[in-house]
């Protein structure tokens, strides 16, 4: 049984199936294909979908809904995400779950709305002041966009953090016949709630990497949420050892709890060259790998990196070619400290990177 569908619609369906009950959006190509089905479908599930007057309002409404205890998400592209960045950092600091889809298009600035690209990885990963990590996941084809939307909501709820699903125009807007049994549904994860055991503190944790149990604003335990430096109770403070501990906790919470969220696809054929890619470019990598019998690694979790695993894989190869659709090699930049001298960057902008272009690059290598 097949359906004929875009990645954008599958993302919307994934969000709804993940339990998202609040969506606020502002239209932007190529993310409007998520906004429209959410506006159309979410009310059928008793959820709220609203149009905002800009992206700052959109993410702020989502943060509000999440504070009330509701799974919330928005979708945009780099021009809209640029406006949201301050609020993403706020959600990070305040430990408020929120899922954000970024459908990449050609940049910089407003660039070209209907041209696919992969130029926003570093913007996403390093989007907050202070340099704290946020999880960034990416489906490697249209089929996976449903599954990875659910993973993104899951990771954001489980770790009480903003999390990004980074994808591209050719995933959100290309329509494809897909076997329904190819669409995988991960188990849905719910935010861990404080149930009244011991004293409630908005940001309580024992181990530094523990995710504090959540209680909503308006619930029976009085909450103090804040985006300013705070202690475990949420009281604004500075120069206090507990404040510094809370900040380290923001980092450790992500790094130590990602085990279930490191996604990748590694095709080992025993050759000495490895192709590395992510997102829609993965499709060309798979095609050329089949044709020429080349090893590949597709990253579906782009941040944080699973350094130990990557190092172990990279050690097996003589050359590692990182293939991506942007101008300066963003993924290559992220991986460079693990690649050593073996790394080679292949980039292109303007059109999808085709299998034959990869083949040509490899021949000239």
């Amino acid at each position: 049984m097949k359906t004929f569908i875009t990645g954008g619609e599958l993302i919307a369906k994934g969000a709804i199936d993940a339990g998202v009950k609040f969506y606020a959006g502002y239209p932007i190509t190529p993310a409007s294909v998520i906004y429209e089905p959410m506006m159309r479908e979410l009310p059928k599930y008793g959820g709220i979908a609203v149009g905002a007057s800009d992206e700052i309002s959109a993410i702020s409404y989502c943060i509000g809904a999440s504070l009330r205890g509701i799974k919330a998400m928005t979708a945009t592209s780099a021009p809209g995400f640029s406006l949201m960045i301050e609020s993403v950092a706020y959600a990070l600091m305040s430990e408020i779950p929120i899922a954000i889809v970024i459908a990449q298009r050609l940049g910089p600035s407003t660039g070209a709305a209907t041209t696919s690209a992969q130029g926003d990885l570093l913007l996403t990963v390093f989007s907050n002041s202070g340099g704290y990590p946020i999880p960034v996941l990416s489906p490697s084809n249209i089929e996976e966009s449903y599954e990875f939307m659910i993973h993104t909501v899951n990771v954001s709820e489980k770790l009480r953090t903003p999390a990004v699903l980074l994808t591209e125009k050719e995933v959100t807007m290309t329509r494809k016949g897909i076997n329904l049994n190819e669409i995988k549904k991960p188990e849905i994860i719910e935010r861990k709630k404080f149930e009244g055991q011991g004293e409630f503190k908005t940001y309580n944790f024992k181990e530094i990497s523990d995710v504090p149990e959540f209680s909503p604003v308006g619930g029976k335990f009085l909450t103090r949420y804040t985006g300013s430096a705070h202690d475990k109770k949420g009281i604004l403070k500075k120069d206090d050892p507990e404040v510094i501990e809370v900040l380290y906790h923001l980092k450790e919470k992500i790094y130590k709890n990602m085990e279930d969220f490191y996604f990748y696809e590694y095709e080992e054929k025993g050759k000495d060259v490895l192709l590395v890619s992510y997102g829609i470019t993965s499709e060309s990598v798979r095609e050329i790998s089949d044709l020429k019998n080349i090893d590949y690694l597709i990253l579906k979790t782009l941040y944080p990196l699973n350094g130990k695993f990557l190092k172990d894989v990279f050690e097996r190869y003589r050359k590692i070619v990182v293939i991506e659709e942007n101008i300066s090699g963003s993924l290559f930049f992220l991986l460079r400290h693990l690649l050593g001298d073996k790394g080679v960057s292949f980039t292109k902008i303007g059109f999808l990177i085709s299998p034959s272009e990869i083949a040509k690059f490899l021949e000239e290598l």
């Binding site: 004929f4 059928k44 709220i48 409404y61 205890g69 494809k176 604003v217 308006g218 909450t223 999808l352």
Partner: protein, 432 residues
């Protein structure tokens, strides 16, 4: 309820002696106590600036936000509370000059949608926390640390703006007003968006620079429209929203494309259809992709168009294959169908790489190409594409014509016209 169960004693406030913020906080606390609202049902959303120090003074739910965003975050909380919960959470947003101007659009939108929040604007005519710089709410000729000879511009009249945006409760007064607590009470009880602009003098800067006393505040208020308080009945956000989605039910079901035909198909086919935006190229092309699906094959449709959707080119790249489709672009098309000049310009680089070219007869004299009168059908949405597909099916036998007819029957729009044009295309191919 005892007042000091929900608020700190004023001697513990962080505010400068004589600061109006102290009075606003006490007036708010009194309002909450006299309404006897359980503290679990009160939320204070605070902004940045001295006003943002309010959190730890209150023993209620608090959310300390970003500069200007308190209104928007409060809006999101209340949207969810009104519709998905029991609508018990009284949401009070505390902002100063900066929160009002940075968050102006959020205020306007909350007023427009009549979101059930209460906004207290602490207007002390300048930015106090950062050193007394002038703000969007600084009166004309007012002296601040950045307007030493007086502010050259008049202040924004925030209440007028929000009144015009649809605020269903708005008031303006000054901080020593004995009725302040009662006005706040009324605003909290009001169903829908309420805003109170409270004039204050920043003792640290405004009073010092402008040689003003607290009693001068009333004169400034008079000059800016005086004390007012108005309310009107309007549907709240939740009521309007629920009205708008009435009758929405069912679920988000993925449309299943049933297999209807078993036909032999070996080599994958790559077809580019290039025409003009607004002529239904992408929809008509989807009928080709769907034709493949009802034969149990795989297909993908990658579209391209300029930013506008009604002018310039419109391209669909369709791959049909027995195998799983990965890379969805087409470098060497088996068939290149060109139905307009816009499309021609966009794909001309691929003409030499195409195995077969079907092109509108007005666009080329080249005898190698199959020239067809596609544009004759541009009056019908998708006409030129459907005509060309008729040619493609008849001439190149990509699928039996019944496949297309079935696709139109199941998934088409204006089915009769589509079939008629498709048959015209077939007839043309048979003759030629």
């Amino acid at each position: 309820m005892d007042l000091f169960e929900i608020i700190e004693k004023p001697q513990n406030f962080p505010y400068c002696p004589g600061c109006g913020h102290t009075l606003v906080n006490m007036a708010l606390a009194k309002a909450i106590v006299s309404l006897n609202i359980p503290k679990e049902n009160i939320l204070i959303v605070s902004d940045i600036g001295c006003v943002g120090l309010v959190d730890k003074l209150f023993n209620v739910h608090t959310v300390h936000t970003l500069h200007g965003r308190s209104t928007a975050i409060g809006t999101g909380i209340k949207m969810a509370d009104e519709i998905l919960f029991n609508n018990n959470l009284k949401t009070i947003v505390m902002i100063g000059d900066g929160g009002a101007t940075i968050g102006l659009l959020h205020l306007v939108e909350a007023a427009k949608m009549n979101v059930d929040i209460t906004v207290l604007i602490h207007n002390n005519f300048l930015y106090g926390m950062t050193g007394g710089q002038h703000s969007g709410l600084t009166p004309q000729n007012f002296i601040t640390s950045t307007t030493r000879k007086g502010n050259p511009f008049p202040a924004l009249n925030i209440i007028e703006i929000l009144k015009n945006a649809g605020a269903s409760f708005y008031a303006r007064t000054f901080v020593q007003d004995r009725e302040l607590s009662d006005i706040i009470k009324e605003a909290i009880v009001h169903k829908g968006f309420s805003v109170i602009e409270i004039f204050e003098l920043c003792t640290g800067y405004a009073a010092r620079y402008n040689k003003l006393k607290g009693s001068d505040l009333k004169n400034i208020l008079e000059k800016h429209g005086g004390k007012i308080k108005e309310k009107k009945e309007r549907l709240s956000f939740g009521e309007s929203y629920e009205e708008s989605i009435k009758g929405e039910e069912g679920g988000y079901e993925l449309k299943v494309i049933e297999k209807e035909f078993e036909i032999p198909f070996n080599k994958s086919q790559k077809i580019i259809i290039a025409g003009s935006a607004g002529e239904g190229v992408q929809f008509a092309s989807s009928l080709l992709a769907l034709s493949a699906l009802i034969c149990g094959l795989n297909s993908s449709q990658k579209n391209d168009n300029p930013v506008t959707v009604g002018s310039g080119f419109s391209i669909s790249e369709i791959i049909i294959s027995k195998e799983k489709i990965r890379y969805s672009g087409i470098e060497n098309p088996d068939y290149l169908i060109i139905t307009s000049m816009d499309g021609y310009k966009r794909v001309k680089g691929k003409i030499m790489k195409a195995k077969n070219v079907i092109i509108d007869e007005t666009l080329s004299d080249e005898s190698k190409f199959l020239r067809v009168p596609a544009r004759k059908y541009k009056g019908e949405r998708g006409g030129p594409t459907v005509f060309s597909l008729g040619v493609l099916f008849e001439k190149y036998k990509i699928f039996p014509p019944e496949v297309f007819l079935k696709t139109v029957e199941k998934y088409g729009k204006s089915k009769e016209k589509t079939i008629k044009i498709f048959e015209e295309g077939r007839k043309f191919a048979l003759k030629g």
